[in-house]
Amino acid sequence: MDSTGDAAAEPLLEVRGLSKIFGTLKACDSIDLEIRRGEIHALLGENGAGKSTLVKMLFGALEPTAGTIRWKGQEVAIRSPGEARRLGIGMVFQHFSLFDALTAAENIILSLDDPAPVSAVAARARELSRAYGLPLDPQAHVGDLSVGERQRIEIIRCLLQDPELIILDEPTSVLTPQEADKLFDTLETLRSEGRSILYISHRLEEVKRLCDRATVLRGGRVVGHSDPRRETAASLARMMVGGDVPVVVRDKPAATREALLEVRGLNRKAGHPFAVSLSEIELTVHAGEILGVAGVAGNGQGELFEAISGEALQESADTVRICGHAAGRHDITGRRLMGAAFVPEERLGHAAAPFMTLTQNLLLSRYRTDARAFLGRLGIIRNAVVASAAKRVSTAMDVRKGSEDPEATALSGGNLQKFVIGRELDRQPRVLVVNQPTWGVDAGAAARIRQALVDLAKGGSAVLVISQDLDELFEICDAIAVMHGGRLSTPVPIAEATYEKIGLLMGGARPEATSGLPLEETV
């Protein structure tokens, strides 16, 4: 942040009047932005405000409808990500751009311009991963990794290119607090090296802690600049939303002790070399109760979710009981028919089919449970009924979208999340199991989703929330259990739970232990 001479004083990147129009929707509306050398610049805004669209234009992944971009004082047209990289712009995407069938090292090589051999890149990646505290096994196949582990690959891949401007689109939404801390150290090191960082995040506390300046977007327009250090998280949130952010209201838990979801002695062998095996999982969720499952990524949460949702069947029918029915041998549809609903971690591609419309996605998960409403005689789909259900969900969850019934992939991340959760809530399920309910969701929408979960429980349903976000679990749960190494602790009632206690339970789980193979394993 030296200011010697004109060159250093002029901004690294200067954006004037940048717009992007999708059909009739102005995703970005003549945006001005200035990024100085050696600063961490926050880009804030609600879900759908246009943050990802803006940075995709800066990275050459989208073509601006209008506006100019100046890089080091020169006007440039960034037509492809390759050109952006050559200029010195690196990016970590919000929805990962990784290849499942390839190894971590291969994924990294693909984004490098110089044709270095696999072994050299793997070595450099390993070096960087150690230096920046982002453990990574270069030989692991990406398809086998958890979301958090995948993101590490993206970050390392970006750092390897030695960029002057690093764009991070919600990098911490899937990282554990420890991992995030390490990332912040990394970012601070990078800043001290004179690099600039454009940082998108919904976690306002970390923005306050890390960022030098902030630009706030609302509805595709810049609505303000601020110095995050002088603001509070609440004042930043107000600026984003343009009003007050709702607070989750939680009444005393209802008094019934009717067990709606029971898991008894669940064991599951790891399906592939990088999966975690589950051993002797026991849990009970009663009517009116919200049970939280905390834990560092990659400790078996995904496997647990699959086992409960019926994506993986159990050997004995009694291992999983839903509303008193033995569900262990039933598949996901069978379990839905017993009254359960499931929201997996990955919203695009798992919870929703990317290239199908919201209405079609709604029908896909509910055509059996709501057969009477959605299907007419001979199983003909009643399109109008399904469409009105989708509309009801969108209204209830305040899903912002560009058109009446867009494809799932056209929604911003947070809005899609609101939709997939709303789609299941709309059924009023007796049991709801959700994995990472507010990953990448803005403060307002997160409060809305949490409130919906609380309300569902209040209505007498059992809710199981798997989340890495401890604040979230403390906010809504009646008890918190911790997952570590494929085992689940006994739940700690919320009255007795403290961050220290839960942190201790998560404790043995060093992030290094999660990638399955030791880092020393070479090419």
């Binding site: 990962f96 290849f99 069938a101 399906g271």
Partner: protein, 304 residues
């Protein structure tokens, strides 16, 4: 005798291998070209016509490769640039090839062909039992083996091969990284076409140096099945091609000997085997995930 059988099997397997290795590369890039049969027959007729007219079998081979590639370029233009449905376009390419080749080849029916001479390495090809098998075959046999090895090296050892696999795995991610998805797919499709053309030339210049209408006789389809059978791995493809080659030779022999197995059953064996393999590999999710090009057959329109 034994060596003769092996050589016959190699002759039956080589055109399958040539066509299939090209299709494997095409499919690894995420494009499903069902027009192999059509490109093959176009290669067969052009190869024959050019060889007979010029008297040079090598010119025939070259022409077949070019025509195969040109024919696949038509497929590429339709499916990649105009984003038509790959399955439908591939099928029509086959029909077009079969019809067009019949027309072109009309005046060549019954004419004596030119045979691509087998290689003879003195002394080595006289080694008993294996000499002719290893050192005394037609040049395209060696080409097919080298091509397989080359494809293995290319796909799994070079950066370009990695890029091609990445496009087949996830074209949206590849695009986001700045990889030119469409260009790479064009190249992969044309490689597939060139190989199919070469396979056709093998039929009309080596296998039976003659032009007969529909002389590919479903080999293009077997090649397609082979790619799946091999679960998109080149060495398995080689094994599969020889297996299928052996089955088809065995079929001829059993028919000649009058064994009571219906010939239709024997000719359906390659397809049955493919189904069995498909069932087996789909049981192993990990294997499927690692080898099947995830974006196979899916249209790609870049997000702009």
């Amino acid at each position: 005798m034994f060596e003769d059988i092996l050589i016959t099997i190699a002759t039956a397997a080589t055109p399958l291998l040539l066509a299939a290795i090209g299709e494997l590369v095409t499919e690894r890039s995420g494009v499903l070209n069902l027009g192999v049969e059509g490109m093959m027959i176009m290669g067969a007729v052009t190869g024959f016509a050019v060889a007979v007219t010029t008297g040079s079998p090598w010119l025939g081979v070259l022409a077949a490769i070019l025509v195969g590639a040109a024919f696949s370029l038509l497929f590429g233009f339709l499916t990649l640039t105009l984003v038509t449905n790959q399955v439908a376009t591939g099928l029509s390419l086959t029909l077009l090839g079969l019809g067009l080749s019949g027309m072109i080849g009309e005046s060549f029916v019954g004419r004596a062909g030119v045979k691509l001479a087998a290689i003879r390495i003195p002394y080595l090809s006289d080694i008993p039992y294996i000499g002719r098998l290893i050192f005394g075959q037609d040049p395209l046999f060696y080409v097919s083996i080298l091509l397989t090895a080359g494809v293995v090296w290319f796909l799994f050892r070079t950066r370009a091969g990695l890029t091609l696999r990445s496009v087949g795995d996830n074209h949206a991610s590849a695009h986001a990284l700045g990889i030119r998805v469409i260009t790479i797919r064009y190249l992969a499709v044309m490689f597939g076409g060139a190989c199919a053309g070469l396979a056709g030339a093998y039929l009309s210049l080596v296998y039976v140096p003659q032009w007969v209408e529909n002389m590919t006789a479903g080999r293009g389809w077997i090649a397609l099945a082979l790619v799946v059978f091999a679960s998109w791995r080149p060495w398995r493809l080689l094994v599969g091609a020889y297996l299928f080659g052996a089955v088809s030779i065995g079929q001829l022999h059993t028919q000649a000997l009058g064994v009571g197995i219906p010939s239709q059953f024997l000719s359906s064996l390659p397809y049955l085997a493919t189904i069995v393999v498909l069932v087996l590999i789909s049981r192993n999710r990990r294997l499927t995930m690692m080898n099947t090009p995830a974006s196979l057959g899916q249209p790609f329109v870049p997000d702009r």
